[in-house]
Symmetry: C2
Subunit: 569 residues, 2 copies
Amino acid sequence: MDTDILRVDMQSLRLKREMTNEAYRMLGGRSFIARALLNEVRADSHPLGRHNKLIILPGILGGTPAPCAGRLSAGGKSPLTGGIKESNAGGVAGHKLARLGIKALIFEGKPRQQGELYLLLLTRDSQELIPCPELKGLGVYEAAERLHERYGKKAGIILIGPAGEMQLTAAGITNTDMDGEPSRYCGRGGLGAVMGSKGLKAIVIDDSGTRAPGSHDKKRFNEIVMEIVRLIRETPQTAVVYRNYGTAALVSTTNAIGGLPTRNFSTGSFEGAERISGEALRNLILERGGLATHSCMPGCPIGCSNLLPGKDGKKLVSPLEYETIGLLGSNCGIDDLDAIGEMNWLCNDLGVDTIDVGGAIGVAMEAGLIQFGDSRGAINLIKEIGRGTVLGRVIGHGGALTARVLGVMRVPAVKSQIMAAYEPRGIKGLGVTYATSAMGADHTAGNTVRVDIDHHKAEGQVRASRNAQLTATIYDSLGMCLFVGTAVKGRIDLLADLVSSHLGVPCSADDLLALSRETIMVEREFNRRAGFTKAHDRLPEHFSEEVNPASGTVFDVPEEELDRIWDGE
Amino acid sequence: MDTDILRVDMQSLRLKREMTNEAYRMLGGRSFIARALLNEVRADSHPLGRHNKLIILPGILGGTPAPCAGRLSAGGKSPLTGGIKESNAGGVAGHKLARLGIKALIFEGKPRQQGELYLLLLTRDSQELIPCPELKGLGVYEAAERLHERYGKKAGIILIGPAGEMQLTAAGITNTDMDGEPSRYCGRGGLGAVMGSKGLKAIVIDDSGTRAPGSHDKKRFNEIVMEIVRLIRETPQTAVVYRNYGTAALVSTTNAIGGLPTRNFSTGSFEGAERISGEALRNLILERGGLATHSCMPGCPIGCSNLLPGKDGKKLVSPLEYETIGLLGSNCGIDDLDAIGEMNWLCNDLGVDTIDVGGAIGVAMEAGLIQFGDSRGAINLIKEIGRGTVLGRVIGHGGALTARVLGVMRVPAVKSQIMAAYEPRGIKGLGVTYATSAMGADHTAGNTVRVDIDHHKAEGQVRASRNAQLTATIYDSLGMCLFVGTAVKGRIDLLADLVSSHLGVPCSADDLLALSRETIMVEREFNRRAGFTKAHDRLPEHFSEEVNPASGTVFDVPEEELDRIWDGE
């Protein structure tokens, strides 16, 4: 099936639909973003200036019945890291874009007048930029509600909150789930600020009257889909653990090995871990009549999402995930799931990354602005973001900037992006990923927590991270959830079969791995042009010099090994 | 004469006096700092961490009767730019250190407990670290007064203010002039924060009982000194202009060519320029009984400094200089010398760079926090720094960080350091220096404003900047005021003669130029290791894309020329 690129010039407000260049045919999600940014954006341009571009698109398998393959990717030069960025999320928008035959949305330029605000309405037959001053400053929940009223409950919505409008560099881009809830965040790297700089508040996708994109060999495609679904249903991690406990199941796992970030990453285990664990969360949800199993997109047989009601039984937030619990919880010394849920909802509503804001609150606590464990103080700090005060802006720019302003040296960040909820001295493979990924400290870029390895030893971590990074890049390009990988494990051939039967071109596991490696090289080349060197592929020095009391280790993977990570197979 | 390096370990509080390594014999000031930092400090270490070192020393000619040769250099890895930094100033401390036979002070490590505060007392016979909790948080004026009471009026004092103690990255290091006034600032690059990170509030230098360092060929040395003094007295710029009007004479010069930064560098001429000009300043000073001619160090026949009284006839500030007038004045739309003088005093007292704080206030005005021209608002912003509020900390971290926090794209900075008072589209040679200097946007690194060239044309600017940078590095290494260069012009041979007759080693003009070039290469190598590439040797994109209305030009020196600046002779 033919798909087009839709270019949207935010200065002239002109739209142009163009056929996809042959070179982009095999690319989707992250691999498309890498290549298009390198080709089209000067790496040294200002990330919030008119030369940067915002790219939003599904993965290669978007719109198909392949399980969990509707993830939405957003990309651009990051105003947080200064390097290349792709961030992806579940929700319904990825599938819907694919059903409209849209390969990618590329937003260029920026409005002449600061403060102009538009929404892009996409239907089967039309695409239109519409001024939307009435949405200015609205939180994503209210904005989504209004847009659903106007364009129908079934429309998919991609959206930024006030933080994105204010161009705060920890702002994310959200999209709606099957319940219409706007809480599926492409959260990392400040892409919400890029969207804000373009004067774009929302993209509304009405895919009524469309069909799923046809596959070249539908029969074969469906066979593999069935095989993958079978694997998901037979694998305990996806069939039982994620299904019942969601990602929060990880709390006990990481806490046990000294890998749960606690009080600004000063240690890796938390005395309140049990109270914020997957078990505690499940009990709380079931007790209040919420959903402990929930899917964020059509065709997901895992259901790792959840819906947490508050004390009054009404919905508090959906989903509450491990990364948020780690950063806004243990990292802030907070063991109260209701408080964490409230913080999560506030961050979502304002449109900021819970990881970077959690990091910011952690350093603010280390600086003594408020005390560790002070959940009311933490909630107030998040509310400051919405008020647009100088303090709020500082927090909304993320943890690295907050540390710089407040004079905190121990900042858990690489390339100015806060680490996810894996302490890098306790789980050293993640430390390697944080250091070497072009994306900055990102867990999804190459998570080693489930690799069968001694996480406290330096040996083998570079290899483990490399493998995880190569695999992750494939999923990020297919638009497929990483958790499918937990079930299919090393069966990259199954994914290759999906691609070849869908597109009708030969594709082997080796082809996918080559595409993945090439994508990573393109990303590194963009960063090289943007001014990054191996000096940026490092963890902050205190992780190598101060012992994590919970693991008894420092981060000691040799720098020469980090520098040679891409020399290996 | 033999001189020693005094190493001060701020963790163990141990001092060690060691003979100067032969390789450092011909080095002083900036050239010493470059080599010592490359040899001793990991370029990727945290600038406020224990691995950074603070180096304070005179130039090669420090302590001698050579005119204007007592400048004090401070250096370290900059917490503002992340690169190498040397900043120097007049005052008495440089000469006094040399008279004590101290080649350089090198401060290493940092106290185990944050908040510990020490002063280093140096006399002819002793050197001692003394706890000084009683000086905590004191402005430099009061701190200097107390130290003068305790150690005598004649002691030279090197000092940081509250901004340095707070480790704000626009903090400078000051030292006292001949009146005991602590307002000679090594202002740029945040070296005051490095001093603060080491828990060092002050260095008190009592040089009683010492003599000037002897020169190898005293007769020849004195002959050249007389020759240079003669040139200074015969050159109109040094004998008349600087003497009568100080550096403020530049206001009319730069304003006329569209090179006076105005309202956050949005244009290069200011409707209020006449009211802040050298003439206006001189008239105001004379009217109030101040000093329009004033020397900052012994042996200065120029006297470009001044003493401005307030409306009540009491001293307001000394000196008030061009850079401060440009950044806190026209750049903020302020044309009131009394207000600028008050802001200058406040910045001095807190110990922050007037250039970077002026840049910060300019971007705060562009962001709408206060209005351009609002001198009361500007004064309050500076006072915020002293209050230690989040807003104050933001401002005290300088203009680039302030712009990032407030979301201002048009930030006049390179390598996160605010440009000095030369608009780079109106005076393109300065643009080249800003872009290519390892120091960030620094005017003293290579000032082309007096070069006989069309400042609006791109042609020849790279060559002009290269020559200026090579010459400046010589003066910065000799410890000699750049204004001597205005008088001796191209006679580098005179400076070489001074060095050889002083040290008793052969030294030609070519040797000095070679030393200068090598110093610049060492600085670039440090920055390379710290993660800098040619992507950092650029002006912000708006200077190339938006016309300076006052000059009718954009900055259009080709990037390839910038990248090849050190390929040329």
